[in-house]
Amino acid sequence: MGSTVETAVRPPSYSGPVEWLRRNLVGTWYDTLLTLLSLWFVFVALRGLFAWAFFSANWEPVTGSLKLFALGQYPQEDMWRPGMIVLTVSFLMGVSWRVWGGTVRTFALALAVALGVVAALPVEMRLPLRLWFVANPALVGLGYLVGWSRVVRSRWVLLGWILSFVATIILLNGFKGVSWLPKVDTAMWGGLLLTFLLALVGIVASFPIGVLLALGRRSSLPVVKVFCVLFIELVRGVPLVTILFMGSIILPLFLPDGVRIDRVLRAMMAMTLFAAAYMAENVRGGLQAIPLGQVEAAKAVGLNGLQTMALIVLPQALRAVIPAIVGQFIALFMDTTLAVIIGLVELLGVGKAILNSKPEWLLLDTEVYVFIAALFWVFTYSMSYASRRLEAALGVGER
């Protein structure tokens, strides 16, 4: 570095769509060739799909059964309950958008726009339902405004989400003998509602259990350690279908007469335990990646074992394995379809039921399953998108 350093001019970096196209698609002759080939391939593939979707497919079983896809057999007069839940979610999304920003914004907007568009569709719809569709974007907006208030703190929003989760279960379930909130048997729960519930309960419950199992596996107490290792290895060695069967058919044989665990609850427990074992292995990977120096530094400043774990080791370990954890959540979400085998009517089950409901629909299985696949894709893609954004925000791999 001399004293006469000239400030070099940064070479101009071109941007804009035309420049992007030039660079990435037709940079060289073989780039161009590849681009043309791919375009042709995509065209051929999509032409067939579009032609089918818009001209020859018969979407009647889908459009005629939207309520079934959404809620299954949930009673018509109790539809306000899931309706309330979605309204609450809209409101919380709005608040979270303002308070947390980032990716939440994308999701809040997507939710508001999607439901808003449905509200504006020129199709026959009962007025209350249309109002409900309008109310959701409005509540997202209201939540956003409420989020401006200085009183609203991040931890309150988190608490709001947790409370709404608990309230969801209570509201959907209702109580025996309460006239305004009668019990709705879980056999009536179905469709997207049930799929969501299975996945959500599985995710929410398997996470802490998995973390505890991972910690237990490293415990110095032999009993704890052996139990955790046995549990993890046993569950991981058995397919989910088997566990679901065991939960629904074998478990009742062991229970004393009169004690019955609800079918949906059994499926939830099976999925939770299954997911927890895999979660434990993911978390273990994260724990192993934490250098010993971190624990030593924590001890040296006087933190006790619990504090060291909760404040130093776990936050770093979990951050390191976010991609794996989200991948597992996505797998769990899709695995909910296996519940159809034990007779639950989640999305796939609704699909089957609809196909069987009218003889003329029997051959329309392609339409129904394409619709279900598209639904799954929307949600799983959202999850992996959120995970990528979360990783970026937390700076995983930067260090």
Partner: protein, 249 residues
């Protein structure tokens, strides 16, 4: 134990032994360190310097002998260990800052969770400490955004935040680029002059000459010789010390 010696001697080690499996890393260390004393430990690599200072705050467990810190004996009693760790700050060769926390949180974490200070008080003291080590403007950055010298100064501030009576340094400048060594040594010199008890494992003989009250030379898990800096450098007694000094100076 009479009270006055307890007052005088802050660390007493008697015949401390340590094995890693079959390998003996400490072969009977006896040493007494006075309140406010600055002790530099040097010696060849693998001679047990790190192991020794790590036994003092129980990052390593010694298997024979006694260690008494400020009147508390180090035993397996978890309360004793906790009490002793609160009196001792430690600075590591590799900094070992918490990468997921800001500089501010790295330093105020222990005061808040261990000393149970209210957050504003802990943060105020954190800022004072950052002033003292010369980087108040970095409070809200993450360790990964700082240079090595800055990270090590944060680590010193983190150790000081618990207001320890004793500071242990394990080769605090060995992982630093040469141009950053001075900024860390400057902080350590200032600290030494402030009257805190310090044990410093280092090969920075300039630092030893300037502020050490005593230099201890380790080899093969034993104290070979110890003396004031003047005598240690001018007239080392043992051949191994002479050899070591000829290699390092």
């Amino acid at each position: 134990m009479p009270d006055e010696t307890r007052d005088q001697d802050i660390i007493i080690c008697r015949d401390v032994h340590k094995w890693f499996g079959d390998f003996q890393a400490l072969c009977g260390i006896s040493v007494t360190i006075k309140r406010g004393e600055v002790v530099v430990i040097c010696g060849p690599s693998g001679s047990g310097k790190s192991t020794f200072i790590r036994t003092i705050n129980r990052l390593e467990e010694h298997q024979r002998g006694d260690i008494i810190v400020d009147g508390i004996e180090l035993t397996n009693d978890i309360r004793n260990i906790a009490a002793i760790r609160q009196e001792i700050g430690m600075v590591f060769q590799q900094f070992n800052l918490f990468p997921h926390l800001t500089v501010m949180n790295n330093i105020s974490l222990a005061p808040i969770w261990v000393r149970k200070w209210p957050k504003p008080k802990a943060e105020e003291i954190t800022m004072q400490l950052l002033e003292r080590v010369g980087i108040p403007e970095q409070a809200h950055k993450y360790p990964g955004q700082l240079s090595g010298g800055q990270q090590q100064r944060v680590a010193i501030a983190r150790a000081l935040a618990m207001q320890p009576k004793i500071m242990l340094f394990d080769e605090p400048t060995s992982a630093l680029d040469p141009e950053m060594i001075k900024e860390v040594l400057d902080v350590m010199v200032e600290l030494a002059q402030s009257g805190i008890t310090m044990i410093v494992v280092t090969h920075e003989m300039g630092f030893a000459r300037e502020v050490a009250n005593r230099i201890i030379f380790f080899d093969f898990g034993l104290i070979v010789e110890q003396n004031t800096p003047e005598l240690f450098f001018e007239s080392p007694e043992h051949d191994r010390t002479k050899l070591f000094l000829s290699q390092i100076l």
